[in-house]
């Protein structure tokens, strides 16, 4: 995956580029907004990570300019301003996701990978499958090995979210945002409890576990523990 990083702080940029490279992604770095917009214009990037506070052209202006050209490259906005309304303005400017500093690198990586995959269009599929686990969005039924699994409505949405991002790490914060529409972190690790209940329903009676915990990052739904 090819990623563009627009970030003025050299230390932060170095750390992100290194982390993304370790995760197997090529990352180009631009130190200011104008260079960033120019580089984004080449259209070779799968995702752009844009810092909100940039010298010259600001992060939000960069995104607006990009969208103005009809460029739909997914953009993740980074900001030290974490408040709700900043998030709203960020998304309104055309950003696809918003991450407040300070963040864990695993959170950044998970969100970037999710954004890159979003272009695939599996959002519209009515039937999601991971191994022998099948989720039908229309009939709202879940089966594994053909056996029906009964889920609470919220558990259904949790599984749906994990299945849409099958093979990718989904963080607790992402689950809170997408399943509960909560844009803040409750103090207790409440998501872990929900996931462990879901795991009990979809994995307990089966040999092959599908729902895995990624230490320090979040959860991933995939067929085998390999890799």
């Amino acid at each position: 995956m090819k990623i563009l990083l627009v970030e003025d702080d050299a230390e932060t940029a170095r750390y992100i580029v290194k982390g993304l490279a370790e995760a197997g992604h090529a990352c180009d770095h631009a130190g200011d907004g104008d260079t960033g917009l120019e580089m984004a214009g080449t259209g070779i990037y799968d995702v752009a990570i844009v810092d909100r506070m940039l010298p010259g052209l600001g992060g939000l202006d960069l995104v607006s300019a990009l969208r103005g050209r009809g460029d739909e490259t997914p953009v993740l906005i980074l900001s030290a301003l974490g408040a709700v309304d900043d998030r709203v303005t960020g998304l309104r400017a055309g950003g696809d996701d918003y991450l407040a500093k300070p963040y864990a690198f695993s959170e950044l990586l998970a969100r970037v990978e999710t954004l890159a995959r979003r272009g695939g269009g599996n959002n519209a599929e009515t039937r999601l499958e991971v191994g022998d686990l099948v989720l039908d969005r229309l009939s709202r039924k879940v089966t594994r090995e053909g056996r029906a699994i009964l889920l609470q409505p919220r558990e259904f949405r949790l599984l749906e979210c994990l299945m849409r991002h099958a093979g990718q790490v989904v963080t607790r914060t992402m689950l809170l945002e997408q399943v509960w529409d909560y844009n803040f972190d409750p103090q207790t690790n409440i998501i872990d409890v929900h996931v462990s209940r879901l795991r009990g329903k979809i994995d307990r009676d089966f040999d092959q576990p599908l729902l895995h915990t990624v230490r320090g990052a979040g959860y991933v739904l995939r067929e085998s523990e390999a890799n």
């Binding site: 709700v84 300070p102 909560y182 103090q187 409440i190 409890v193």
Partner: protein
Amino acid sequence: MCSVNPKPTDPGRGQRRYGLFASAAFRLSLVYLAVFAAFAAALIAYMAWSTRVILADQSRETIAAEVRGLGEQYAAGGIQQLVAAVANRAEGPANALYLVTSFAGQSLAGNIAELPVETLRGDGFYQVPYRHVADTDDMTREAEVRVFRLAGGFVLVVGRDIGDRIAFERILTRAGLIAAALTLLLGIAGGVYIRRRILMRMDAMSDTARAIMGGDLSNRVAVAGRGDEFDRLGDSLNAMLARIEGLVRGMREVTDNVAHDLKTPLTRLKARAEDALRAIDSGKRLSAAARRAVLEETIAEADHLISVFDALLAIAKAEAGEGARQDRVDLAALAEVAAELYAPLAEDAGIALRVDAAPDCIVLANQVLLARAVSNLLENALTHGRRDADATVTVTVTRQGADALLTVADNGPGIPPQDRARVLQRFVRLEMSRTHPGSGLGLSLVNAVAHLHNGALELDDNAPGLRAGLRLPLAGERAGDDGSGGA
């Protein structure tokens, strides 16, 4: 006016000295004095003028009457009878003046000894000096005379001595001048006195202000208790000072608490990193698991710090009035989502979590902040409430008049009444809750969010337990078209 350019940045050093004219009170009394003096002067001048006119008219009328009488004598008996009548009348009161002269200017009868020559040649009213027959010196008296030219060169002069009138006018003028001088003097003295009285009280206020700037926030302006303007000003100033003192004290407490509550985890974090570094320096080989544990604990500590910072910022922003969005929030839905999020946690802890929410309780609020507040209340109830088989946490949403009330109640130990106000402050954690995780910011945030939305956080006894109520004004049923115009 000594100090032309006083340093405003150095209020402690000496008082600025102002001259008399810099005093607003003195200038005001001067203006008042000027207006009053002008009015008084106009009054005195009018009185003097009209007195003079009345007196002059009187003397002319008397002269006219005399002239009519003498005219009749002249008409009846010619010049002889006129001379006889004049000689007779001249014996009368000294201020009535008469004179008849021949064509040669020789006096035939009368009590005027001497008149200016041109007067005798004229005809009509004159105000002239004259000499009375009883006088020995020159023409020192003043008279108003009427001169008639008669047939045969005879001249009749009838007049009135106006010495008294002139003396009276002089007295009147002097009295006017004295009155004006007195008015001026009293006015200035009054101005100075008022200025000094006002200045005394103003100076007292200035001294208080200076003392407060010097750091003594407990100082207050003296109030005389007379209920006058100064007392009202003093009361307002004192109320303002009390508010400022409260804010500053609150700020100080917050700063102290922030310093304490952030330094403790920072110290732990630093100690842990130093510990690991020392272990490496001493050549001890840490196992991979041990290294991982150190780093994970460090990250956990940093995460805790971030969440504390985040909560502090959220509280500060809410208190500053930021983020007051107007989403239409259904409290029942909000309560149900929150309860559902925490349901597994409650279930695992054996706590019965119930929701009893009335529908259609819509408030205009920032959805995210409100969700966060409710989640804080639920977390509090689940961690500080009862934790055995009988434990319950109940979430209710009810309408109360123009308000909606969302309560989260537990049946745990509750909060003693004397501590209920205190737990709303930042970082305040009661002794009995020290063993539970938490930052002491949860209720502060809920309180700030409630106030941001013109609501309140109410802490009550659930007998047993705590009932925390988030009271918010209900949104208008049909906001905008009910025409009442009320907010």
